[in-house]
Symmetry: C2
Amino acid sequence: MTSEVVLATNNVNKAREFREMFKPLGITIKTLKDFPNVESIAETGDSFEENAILKAQHLHNQTNLPVIADDSGLQVLSLNGAPGIYSARYAGDHDDDANNQKLLKELSNKTNRDAQFVTCLVLVTKDNSKIVVYGCLNGEIIDHSVGSNGFGYDPLFYVSSKGKTLAEMSDEEKNSISHRGKALNKLLNIIENNFLN
Amino acid sequence: MTSEVVLATNNVNKAREFREMFKPLGITIKTLKDFPNVESIAETGDSFEENAILKAQHLHNQTNLPVIADDSGLQVLSLNGAPGIYSARYAGDHDDDANNQKLLKELSNKTNRDAQFVTCLVLVTKDNSKIVVYGCLNGEIIDHSVGSNGFGYDPLFYVSSKGKTLAEMSDEEKNSISHRGKALNKLLNIIENNFLN
């Protein structure tokens, strides 16, 4: 039996990442593109978790299907956790280049470049049960972009254990270590016995 | 291997109900009585879910153990959902008799006696994942107490499919149909493969 889960995103990169991870479970991922009449909801939460729950619950209310929403972001230690929940709109809304340039500028006089990617992933099931998991990836922000895969801050995010940035990794390699990959694996462990009713 | 889960309650009736349900999974239930230094937290939420999460997260932060918290209550249709989150302190704080008397008084001139017991159950795992499930039981409020088992509004809550009130049922029979039993079963289904790390 094939189960369907709606992913609360229009981002094709994110959708690809999730499809790859859910394929082995026989779960088909739909996205907001499959529900053109669903209005978007403002991400007014104060945390990754609040935003992810807002998005998941809203879409579940409209579709009556199991929904997964995530909220992810970059937290930089010497910037007191910025850009955080504002990661996608730090300098310009979903403008990766502008966001990366602003990040480099803010860090220009900082010696500590420690950073963490965080994902909060929420599954709302058909019967309105809710599963909330987190995934984190530690790294450091280098001073210029390297690599052309991935999206967002990936070209600036250096993972020392791999000796390269996230943007230098294949989808498969990135999924195996990334914040989103870790959160997804936690979620997959929980729903493996098809807890989606 | 025996896993330990802390149940955020001092209520011996509730603890007994949970112990009975978790025993088959080899999970030992501890309660607040095992952690006398943990200060209680005010239930300031606006919903069963907010209160359950408040309690679970607080206790998890103090113990670093998996924690289950629930918030339950009675929602009466013709009272616009009252007593709701105030069920345990409707007339007097955890004074079952006073609460039951107030409920009967409020309903004295109402013909619609439909009611619903609701439980929201939250598990916070060691790694801070969160599972939120709901359980509901429909019934009606009769005009005098019947039965001596259970607690709270059980003697007034008549379940037509069983032909008796919750307070006339054994623990086993009540657990098999109750709001808390249903929520617990959902949760047990999810954690059966020992998702507690």
